[in-house]
């Protein structure tokens, strides 16, 4: 078989080139350098020791570096070149919806009237942002089929927390003690974790052989002490939960509520609404479905939509539009007698709300539906192109993502991790791996609607080439990535002997 580098070049997406090394800030530091200057003091200098005990005061910030501005700029510019990013290429992380992040969103969020506003300034001075939040709530409600939406949660997981809290508040308010919650075995880790933070015991619901949850499995477990069900639709296999309505009826009929994990909402935009599928409360990941950038791990925003029955329990404050009688404008509304309280120190990750608003306005109803259609088209196209070369555990049409596995490479001893690392050599970020847990060696691919046909073809050719390599040159695949500055970092060592900070003299080894 051909030379491995040629195989990579044949696909035409990647090569290797000059890259830069860069030490830690602390290693580059030199006493006496500075990267910022302060305004000339226009007030008398004050010795803090005059008003405070000397031993309460900081005498030195040892451990902080000293660099000039050019050095700092170079440091982080070089660091940036070690990252993969959506703006560099396809980023098929399943469940993460790595779609294109419009530059318009960033320009909008940087407007001084948004970026420099203070959360506690009088509402009379904040009418612009309050109107934006009010309208965004209305838009998200319409998109999801919910009645009200809180914009406070800072990310999906905090949204889950808020949603489950409202379910708990709902039951408690009705004097019911329910201490269990049903969660499918395909669920994301934040679901059980969020339930546990509410003191709930989680009861796993097994997925059926078709990858879906079945009414019977839920009915069996839906006892009077169960507060409700957390469901992800489409689920983490990329499959639409076809029995959801029936399942929701079961849950409702036994006094439970249904929480919808909205991480995969991208597949349903303008096509179907969680609120019409029996879901009582759900979160949105604005950093997925609504194009706000992931930032290497946030910030995001995780608004939560609820049906009216949960509205009394919404976190405060909400934004309210004044009735004609009260005058014009928008105010913060604390009148939620049974509110679960406050989740965020302020109004939420407002900067992300501005971006998501810009996105909804840019797409409109047709554009949003087009997102769902093209996202689903792309996922099915990838599946169609790969299903002959990769094991497909649940081989049926998918929605926005498809899950493959490494089963077909068992013989060669090539694992999902190997495939993922080798994909890097071809110039792609790996898919989500080993999730969902119910698929051994899962490769979870979500192309999103941002990717073009040719782009997907090149990506599929890379995966097909790797499938071939797995058979013909398995050792090369197991040694991947070969192209990167660093290869296969030792995670075991990192965890066994944690080095979590730089120190003047870190212990050797």
């Amino acid at each position: 078989m051909s030379d491995p580098r040629e195989r990579v070049q044949a696909v035409g997406n990647a090569t290797t080139s000059l890259a830069f090394e860069e030490a830690l800030l602390f290693e580059r530091s030199r006493p006496g350098r500075r990267g910022a200057d302060l305004p000339a003091p226009d007030v008398p200098d004050v010795d803090p020791a005059a008003s405070l005990p000397a031993d309460w005061l900081r005498d030195d910030l040892e451990g902080l570096p000293e660099l000039s501005e050019p050095e700092v700029v170079r440091h982080f510019t070089r660091l940036s070149t070690w990252n993969y990013a959506v703006d560099l290429g396809l980023y098929p992380l399943g469940s993460c919806t790595m779609k294109y992040n419009p530059k318009l969103n960033e320009a909008a969020a940087q407007l001084p009237g948004f970026a420099l506003g203070h959360p506690l300034q009088p509402v009379a001075l904040s009418q612009g942002i309050l109107q934006l939040m009010y309208e965004l709530e209305r838009h998200l409600a319409e998109i999801s089929g919910m009645d009200r939406v809180t914009l406070q949660p800072a990310a999906g997981a905090q949204g889950e927390l808020a949603g489950i809290m409202m379910i708990r508040a709902y039951h408690e308010h009705r004097g019911e003690r329910r201490d269990k919650i049903l969660i499918p075995d395909s669920a994301h880790g934040t679901n059980p974790a969020s339930a546990a933070l509410n003191g709930y015991h989680t009861i796993p619901v097994p997925s059926g052989p078709d990858g879906l949850i079945h009414p019977a499995a839920v009915a069996e477990r839906m006892t009077p002490d169960v507060a409700g069900l957390m469901v992800t639709n489409p689920n983490t296999l990329g499959l639409f939960e076809e029995h959801l309505v029936e399942i929701a009826e079961i849950v409702h009929s036994r006094g439970g509520l249904v929480y919808g994990d909205g991480a995969n909402l991208n597949a349903l935009l303008g096509v179907a609404r969680p609120g019409d599928l029996g879901i009582d409360v759900m979160h949105f990941n604005l950093h997925k479905t609504f194009s706000t950038p992931h930032g290497g791990g946030g910030p995001g925003a995780g608004p939560v939509g609820v049906k009216n029955l949960l509205a009394p329990h919404l976190p405060v404050p909400m934004v309210r539009k004044l009735e004609a009688a009260e005058g014009q404008g928008f105010v913060l509304d604390y009148e939620f007698p049974h509110s679960i309280g406050r989740l965020h120190g302020n109004l939420g990750n407002v900067g992300m709300l501005v971006r998501a608003f810009a996105y909804v306005r840019s797409l409109g109803p047709d554009g949003l539906r087009r997102c769902a259609e093209m996202a689903v088209l792309n996922a099915n196209y990838v599946r169609a192109r790969l299903r002959r070369s990769y094991a497909v555990p649940y081989d049926r049409p998918v929605m926005h993502e498809c899950v493959l596995s490494d089963r077909s490479f068992e013989g060669a001893g090539v694992t999902t991790l190997d495939v993922a690392k080798r994909l890097i050599d071809y110039g792609y970020h790996p898919p989500t791996v080993y999730f969902p847990l119910i698929v051994p060696g899962a490769l979870m691919i979500e192309p999103t609607e941002s990717e073009s046909l040719e782009g997907l073809d090149r990506f599929c050719e890379a995966l097909l080439a790797i499938a071939e390599e797995a058979r013909e040159d398995p050792e090369h695949v197991k040694g991947a990535p070969h192209s990167t500055r660093l290869s296969r970092l030792d995670e075991t060592r990192a965890a066994r002997k944690p080095v979590l900070r730089w120190q003047p003299d870190p212990d050797p080894s």
């Binding site: 318009l104 942002i129 546990a196 930032g295």
Partner: protein
């Protein structure tokens, strides 16, 4: 649709490859009757030009730290942000990448987080710092939960000096796990009083905010003794991370956990978010920490590199037994703060803190000398303090606004017992002449 590349021809080709007759057919798994049979009732798509115009119009209806002289703090602070931060943090490689699960293509983010962790350890005087939490309020709540896990106790002693919003969030978080909260009142000088009395052997932790919401600098060492006496954990939280460069570190004064809000480190106020929660703790407690951690390791060829580590604490591995449910955190804000600390550096950050303090002391000295104004709380402060004003605080705020000043926070809802009063903050952005004007208008004299 400029964000979506598909042409009709592309769609046809792809449908064919899939073997689906139509786009509609791709949604066959969605039962007919559940499909939305109408377009979403949303405003029609607008062009980039129109959307920007619409958003500019909205933005212009907000006051902001650029449009007024700014003295409002109360947990969110108007500091100068060096231009290099926007230039670097906006680089696509940082902004459009995901959580660094794949270290070979994420070393940029990973090394920056490791640098952040290291600097926060230095600032807090503790051995481990995580890679951010949502904000100062949730970080404080996570600290309480962490303390409950560490001590297997459920009682939380909360200083009345903790930011009211943080207290609310703490209640919200603890409610589900049966944590009970008792609050230590504020003493006459503004500091927390009678902590000792509140702590007992059932106390999981004592939570002290430094400086207190009303500005007073607390006695951390005393709180540490009170906590230690009963085997409780001392959590010191702050809503102004810059104070860490002014005051002896919480770790050095006996805190077991330091947490709070680091928005002041180069993160725009942005109406309250996204900001930057942080949490640092003693090394021994690392396995009970919430949030991501980056650790140093080596690659296959022995070269230094960084990875997410100790993930067995986290939801994606430990699920319902995770130390927290957090997944997406505040990565890009952390990056901004890391750049900020790198620019300000060992000397610059301390000088900045001192300048903030000097501005406040100057303002206080004027207030002291101004009839009609008062400093009701005697405790020393950093850059924020309470000013008693003649007549209703609202009226004082309105007078200031007419003079182009956002004068501070009306304390009526928070500390009515102080009478008409404002919480006033002076950062490096407050120019002497603005401070002079502020004092004049608050006293009711013409600007």
């Amino acid at each position: 649709m400029r964000f979506i590349p598909h042409t009709d021809e592309d769609v046809a080709t792809m449908l064919e490859a899939i073997g689906a007759p139509s786009l509609e057919a791709l949604f066959a798994c969605v039962p007919e009757k559940l499909r939305l049979d109408r377009p979403l009732a949303l405003p029609a798509a607008a062009s980039e030009q129109e959307v920007l115009a619409e958003l500019r119009a909205l933005a212009e209806r907000n006051a902001h730290a650029g449009s007024h002289a700014w003295f409002l703090g109360a947990g969110t602070y108007a500091h100068f942000v060096p231009s290099a931060i926007d230039a670097l943090a906006s680089r696509a490689e940082f902004a459009t990448s995901y959580t660094p699960y794949q270290p070979e293509v994420s070393q940029g983010t990973l090394q920056a987080i490791f640098e952040w962790q290291s600097m926060m350890c230095a600032l807090t005087g503790l051995e481990v710092s995580n890679a951010s939490l949502y904000d100062g309020a949730s970080a404080t709540a996570e600290a309480a939960l962490m303390a409950m896990r560490l001590t297997r106790r459920s009682k939380v002693v909360l200083s009345g000096g903790v930011h009211p919003h943080t207290r609310e969030v703490l209640r919200t978080y603890l409610d589900g796990l049966g944590g009970e909260i008792s609050t230590a009142p504020r003493g006459a000088d503004g500091r927390t009083a009678g902590l000792v009395g509140c702590v007992d052997d059932a106390t999981a932790c004592v939570i002290l905010q430094q400086p207190a919401f009303l500005g007073a600098i607390e006695d951390v060492a005393a709180a540490a003794r009170a906590a230690r006496a009963h085997g409780a954990v001392l959590v010191v939280t702050t809503s102004e991370a810059l104070s860490l460069a002014f005051l002896r570190s919480p770790g050095a004064l006996g805190a077991d956990i330091a947490c709070g809000e680091a928005q002041s480190f180069g993160v725009p106020m942005s109406f309250g978010g996204p900001h930057l929660g942080f949490l640092a703790a003693r090394g021994a407690h690392v396995r009970q920490m919430p949030g991501r951690l980056v650790g140093q390791t080596v690659d296959a060829r022995g070269r230094r590199g960084f990875v997410l580590t100790l993930s067995t604490r986290e939801q994606h591995i430990r699920r319902e037994r995770a130390t927290s449910n957090i997944c997406t955190n505040q990565g890009l804000c952390l990056l901004r703060a890391t750049i900020y600390l790198a620019l300000l550096g060992r000397r610059g950050l301390r000088e900045l803190a001192r300048l903030n303090h000097a501005k406040a002391e100057y303002a206080k000295s004027l207030v002291r000398r101004t009839p009609g104004l008062a400093l009701p709380l005697a405790a020393p402060t950093f850059h924020e303090f309470v000013v008693g004003v003649p007549g209703p605080a609202e009226a004082a705020l309105a007078r200031a606004l007419d003079a182009g000043l956002v004068a501070g926070l009306d304390l009526a809802p928070h500390a009515p017992e102080l009478g008409p009063a404002l919480l006033v903050c002076t950062t490096e952005l407050a120019r002497r002449e603005d401070i002079d004007r502020l004092v004049r208008v608050l006293a009711g004299r013409s600007a």
